[in-house]
């Protein structure tokens, strides 16, 4: 049972303390880590994948991997960032797999993102338009370009943060964002997002 104090308010145990307890096999600590970060992982997965279909599987895989490999986490207080890195890696893998399945005709449909279903009705009109355009465009891009673009334009991460999350160099991130921007601009110029 999850202790009542294990919240994000700061009054509960820190991530580092939970990681140490979870490493010792404490089930409550594992559940606390899951519940504390489940919404973040769900949201990040949803925005990276651009659809709801694979989110549950991804979330389960991410936490199963993270909780099984807690002994590898050198800085227990960095659990959240580490988790995000795993989410990015798993999402990238799913996007690649889907593109491969579509390529060989084993995945139906041409769209793996539904821009209209993604954006909240509470979004200001200009933000909603830009988000829909972005998601309509990025689905044609390979994962190596799509992931940095979403991390930058939707999540608002810095270049350094994206490098950390994607496990690539800063130069690679800059190059991929530049290439992604150019391809987005080209697609926009052709009106393909409409």
């Amino acid at each position: 049972v999850l202790p009542a104090t294990a919240t994000r308010s700061g009054s509960g145990p820190s991530d580092a303390a939970l990681v140490v307890a979870a490493r010792a096999g404490e089930d409550w600590a594992m559940e606390a880590l899951f519940r504390r970060h489940a919404r973040m992982v769900n949201a990040l997965a949803f925005r990276l994948l651009g659809r709801d279909a694979d989110v549950d599987d991804l979330v389960q895989d991410v936490f199963a991997e993270a909780l099984a490999r807690l002994h590898r986490l050198r800085e227990p207080q960095a659990f959240s960032a580490w988790l995000s890195t795993i989410v990015v890696g798993r999402a990238s893998k799913i996007i690649r797999q889907r593109r491969m399945l579509m390529r060989i005709g084993l995945a139906r449909g041409s769209l793996d993102v539904d821009p209209d279903a993604l954006v909240s009705s509470a979004a200001p009109p200009d933000v909603a338009v830009e988000l829909r355009a972005l998601y309509a465009l990025v689905q044609s891009l390979p994962a190596r370009l799509r992931i940095p673009l979403v991390l930058r334009r939707v999540e608002g991460h810095s270049l350094e943060e994206i490098a950390e999350l994607t496990q690539t160099s800063l130069a690679t991130v800059k190059r991929r964002l530049n290439e992604g921007d150019q391809r987005l601009e080209a697609l926009l110029a052709k009106g393909k997002h409409r």
Partner: protein, 369 residues
């Protein structure tokens, strides 16, 4: 489009409620319990297998004189596979009835030998380390990727899920094929290689060195997977049976025929699919595979060029298939010796995919001879 000053992430949120979170956590617990069970079963089995194999390797050395360079080996029985995790995070997923020898496992180099079965390698990217898997006279060289190597009856197959690998002829080191994500390659094994694999197993304990035998019997010029076509290759089958099958059945028939070495049948089926079902999602891939077969099996570079052009035109814009088809078309025209058309195709590829994975290979084509 420019990045927003305020990240709009808050407007892209999944529908998340307590029952959904509870279901997810139940899934996590199930996965953790399954992993724990697997570890409990796999580790003793692997240790036992390694000990047994090491003992047998010792016998081989004492009988044959020259020592095998194998440090250890992983071996699975017919019932189930195993997963091995290396210290750098790379994972090796062994299928059933597989034997994977470890020749080198150091910080700067990992060298494995697949003697039979199948291994899926998920290799952590590291520029400072060479990662190789030798199998049946070939060497697969890796830099940060996930791929499968399989010895199945009379064929060696390599397929890449992400990243890139080089397939090289063992011994000569000549690169046979460069494979990108989603690509696969296979070759029919010479009879010596097929016979060698079982003898490499512990029970064989033969004094011969299977790797050396395979390498000498498999020169680089002979490793292409496809034999010469039959005289019926270009007839373009339109049998009533095939017409009734539909696109899926045609595609499966073509794949099966190719795997069995019946290349004329494979080409016929791919051609029929392309012509009868041009709107089917498999049609671009059928044209692509047809082009590859025409180029590799019959040396019909111009026919291959036409098929690959069709594949590139019908593939989704900007897709990996379109990129591969355009790149292969350059290869075909280069093989045909048509420098002018080759240069035009090369421009088409580089214009459309200036940062494409084949750019270096394509840029080197179309040289006047």
């Amino acid at each position: 489009m420019t990045p927003n000053r305020v990240p709009p992430a808050r407007y892209v949120e999944p529908n998340l409620d307590e029952p959904r979170i509870a279901r997810q956590y139940a899934g996590v617990r199930t996965a953790l319990a399954r992993d724990a069970r697997t570890r409990r079963l796999v580790v003793p089995a692997l240790v036992a297998a390694m000990v047994a194999v090491l003992l047998v390797a010792g016998l081989v050395r004492s009988r044959s004189g020259p020592a095998r360079s194998e440090l250890a080996a992983f071996e699975t029985g017919p019932g189930a596979g195993h997963t091995v995790e290396l210290s750098d995070g790379s994972r090796l997923e062994l299928g059933a009835s597989t034997r994977l020898g470890v020749n080198e496992l150091a910080n700067g180099s990992v060298a494995l030998v697949l003697e039979r079965g199948v291994v899926v390698a998920d290799v952590a990217p590291r520029k400072d380390r060479a990662f190789k898997i030798r199998a049946a006279g070939h060497e697969v060289r890796v830099v940060g990727t996930r791929f499968e190597v399989r010895i199945d009856q009379e064929r060696l197959s390599v397929s890449v899920e992400r990243g890139r690998v080089e397939v090289a002829a063992d011994g000569s080191g000549a690169v046979v094929r460069l494979l990108g994500a989603g690509e696969s390659w296979s070759t029919k094994l010479p009879s010596s290689a097929v016979a060698a694999a079982p003898h490499a197993a512990p029970s064989g304990a033969t004094p011969s060195a299977p790797e050396a035998t395979v390498a000498s019997d498999t020169p680089a010029a002979e490793v292409d997977p496809v034999p010469a076509p039959s005289a019926t290759a270009a007839t373009g089958s339109s049998s009533p049976h095939a017409k009734a099958d539909g696109a899926r059945a045609l595609f499966e028939r073509a794949q099966r025929a190719r795997a069995e070495g019946r290349l004329a049948d494979a080409k016929s089926a791919f051609r029929e699919l392309r012509e009868r079902y041009p709107d089917d999602p498999r049609a671009p891939l059928a044209a692509f595979e047809l082009g590859r077969l025409e180029l590799a099996s019959s040396g019909d570079a111009r026919g291959a060029s036409r098929s690959l052009d069709q594949a590139a035109r019908s593939a989704p814009k900007g897709s990996a298939l379109q990129e591969d088809a355009l790149a292969r078309r350059v290869d075909a025209l280069d093989a045909a010796g048509d420098v002018k058309e080759c240069e035009s195709a090369r421009r088409a590829y580089l214009d459309r995919f200036p940062a494409g994975v084949h750019r270096a290979t394509v840029a080197a084509r179309c040289k006047k001879r």
